[in-house]
């Protein structure tokens, strides 16, 4: 009896690793953007949705999967860049309060989600990639697609980490995350760095949308939005702006969701993530894995 229970949990962990990889990708993007711009982007889910639908549209033209992934990333990147360039940046220049920028992202989320609904309709549309047979790896069962998702997630997160630590852009991003005014005083072109950050955020979120669509197998206009608060939970649990924290947060949240699904109704899956989020906000708003206490603005 115990053996079969353990088997169930390990299977849940296996599912959890794929979910966690997708959440982690999206969380790294959100966490980077949130820390640099200090705007909680509630349209982040829609960037994923748009990425997934872009991959679907690309599939009609080509069966070469990397091209579909590229289409997803480019679409996400474009919309994130455009949202900042045409809406958030003009409002920021005018000195809009942070809460107003937050509300603008909510409005953009409403526009994009319903734009997708308007164009593609509300019914689920199948998005199927050629399947591969499942393999046993240790106690887990993975398909080739699962491994590709986990692998690309790790590679992209590594790239983001290297960008933040080794490049001039990353240095500027970290400076702006600490204080935009001080960064500007030292001669950093903050607007340009912020634009690039949104572009990178959108590229990764769009790609994450592609992996989400591929792993779910069907798309609806709320496919990304359904994960929005889970991603926020992962970002905040891991500590906003901390790439390793985002990965650890996503892993924790993804596993909590999948393991809770073994025992509780599906509706409670996201609740597991939310409970972790609320506990983190109340007890350690700077994130669970942050050892140095930072001042939370």
């Amino acid at each position: 009896m115990w053996a079969s229970k353990l088997q169930d949990i390990l299977l849940g962990v296996g599912f959890g690793l794929v979910t966690a990889a997708i959440i982690a990708l999206s969380t790294v993007a959100l966490s980077l953007q949130y820390s640099v711009t200090n705007i909680p982007n509630f349209a982040h889910g829609e960037l994923m949705t748009i990425g997934a639908y872009a991959a679907l549209v690309a599939q009609r033209g080509t069966h070469f999967i990397p091209l579909q992934a590229l289409a997803a990333a480019l679409a996400g990147g474009f919309f994130a860049w455009a949202m900042n360039f045409f809406i958030l940046e003009p409002f920021t220049r005018r000195g809009a309060r942070n809460l107003v920028l937050f509300i603008l992202t909510l409005a953009v989320s409403l526009i994009l989600q319903n734009g997708v609904l308007f164009v593609f309709g509300g019914n689920d549309i199948g998005y199927n990639l050629p399947s591969s047979s499942p393999m046993d790896i240790g106690p887990f069962i993975f398909t080739g697609q699962d491994l590709a998702i986990i692998g690309s997630a790790v590679a992209i997160m590594l790239a983001v980490h290297l960008m933040l630590r080794r490049t001039k852009l990353g240095k500027a991003q970290r400076a702006i995350a600490d204080s935009r005014e001080l960064a500007r005083v030292t001669g950093i072109d903050a607007d340009r760095v912020v634009r690039l950050t949104w572009l990178i955020d959108g590229l990764i979120a769009g790609f994450a949308g592609f992996t989400l669509g591929a792993s779910v197998g069907s798309l609806s206009p709320t496919v990304g939005n359904a994960f929005l608060l889970v991603i926020f939970a992962a970002a905040i649990v891991g500590g906003v702006g901390r790439i390793y924290g985002a990965m650890a947060g996503a892993l924790l949240i993804g596993l909590a969701m999948e393991v809770s699904a073994l025992y509780l109704a599906a509706d409670y899956k996201v609740v597991a993530a939310f409970v972790l989020l609320i506990i983190t906000l109340l007890l350690r708003p700077e994130g669970l894995f942050v050892t140095k206490r930072v001042v939370v603005r």
């Binding site: 909680p40 809406i87 003009p90 409002f91 809009a96 942070n98 809460l99 107003v100 937050f102 509300i103 603008l104 909510l106 409005a107 953009v108 989320s109 409403l110 526009i111 989600q113 319903n114 734009g115 609904l117 308007f118 309709g121 509300g122 608060l229 926020f232 939970a233 905040i236 109704a265 509706d267 409670y268 996201v270 609740v271 939310f274 409970v275 989020l277 609320i278 906000l281 109340l282 708003p285 939370v296 603005r297």
Partner: protein, 333 residues
């Protein structure tokens, strides 16, 4: 046709009560609350289980909800306000104490979804996804009116409730307490420096807003005669926000105007016109409505952030003094 107009106006009136609730927490105190629909739903459920009876006997053993007390109408409204207020006290008491405003907003929306999942899954409470239903409208058998006349009378009842809420809101706005709320919104540090407990003021405003939303929810439940998880979702919160932005945050008449503009004009226009222009796409009306609402929010915030009717500025009531000369008055802008 008259039926349609009466029911549309009734919904407009009820939504205005919702908007007044949100106007206290967002419009006056400046808290980005994404949980108004939780308070509305709690109000509706509470009203239905207080005023209605237990689940009908012929519905089978799986249909079940709590209470079913057959209480009088007014007690149902009061109960809805009390329970919604208590929820706000609990949520606000924890979330307002230590969270900065974007974390507060995230916490409220996450709490709403958690409560949603709980109500949907824990069937003994409000019968899960099936929900509470078959609750008679107030005084329907006692009055024994024809259906149209009763509908019109119910609309008048909603209007009376709205009128009371309006007068209360006006009294709050004009009172020193209303000024305190706006002071907290404009500058928490200054309010603290003048010896105010900002946390307590915010919490009070949050509870008052939730009670108002709960009252609106009770009227909504009375109107629908039933309530279940399909009757509410977080996206509708933005309709209320759009109403407040368009009409004018903090202005009581503005909120009334904005609420009717969004819930009656935009809602019904898209519902009626879009199927005519685009037959055969069932989602187009809802999609266009929310896109318009999103564009309206962005457009209003850019071109007219104060809304159609801006919030009235405080004036010094001491005669003979120049504006801004009174102690603690707003400096001239």
């Amino acid at each position: 046709m008259i039926d349609y107009i009466v029911s549309t106006l009734t919904i407009g009136i009820i939504w205005t009560i919702f908007a007044y609730g949100l106007n206290v927490s967002w419009g006056w105190t400046g808290q980005l609350d994404l949980a108004p629909f939780m308070f509305i739903a709690v109000g509706a459920y509470t009203y239905l289980v207080l005023v209605g009876g237990p689940a009908p006997a012929n519905a089978g053993p799986s249909v079940h909800w709590i209470l079913g007390l057959h209480l009088p109408f007014v007690l149902g409204l009061l109960g809805a306000m009390v329970v919604a207020g208590a929820c706000a006290l609990l949520l606000g008491g924890v979330a307002l104490r230590r969270l900065r405003d974007d974390y507060f907003a995230i916490t409220t929306v996450v709490t709403t979804l958690t409560v949603y999942a709980f109500i949907a899954q824990f069937t003994p409470l409000f019968d899960g996804y099936t929900g509470v239903y078959a609750v008679e409208r107030p005084f329907e058998t006692a009055l024994n009116l024809p259906a149209e006349a009763y509908q019109a009378l119910f609309m008048v009842a909603c209007l009376v409730v709205l009128g009371i809420v309006y007068l209360v809101m006006q009294a709050i706005f004009r009172s020193p307490y209303g000024r305190l709320l706006r002071a907290v919104r404009e500058d928490e540090t200054a309010a603290t420096a003048f010896g105010r407990n900002v946390y307590r003021v915010k919490l009070q405003a949050y509870v008052v807003g939730a009670c108002t939303a709960g009252l609106g929810g009770a009227m909504f439940g009375a109107f629908l005669q039933a309530f279940n998880p399909y009757a509410w979702n977080v996206a509708e919160t933005f309709l209320i926000y759009a109403a407040i932005f368009v009409g004018g945050s903090g202005n009581i008449r503005g909120v009334l105007l904005g609420s009717f503009f969004i819930t009656v004009f935009v809602q019904e226009l898209t519902r009626l016109l879009v199927p005519m222009i685009l037959p055969g796409s069932p989602d187009a009306a809802a999609a266009l409505r929310y896109m318009i609402v999103g564009l309206l929010i962005v457009g209003v915030l850019w071109w007219r952030p104060q809304g159609l009717l801006p919030e009235p500025q405080d004036r010094d009531t001491v005669l003979g003094l120049a504006r801004g000369a009174g102690a603690g008055a707003d400096p001239p802008r």
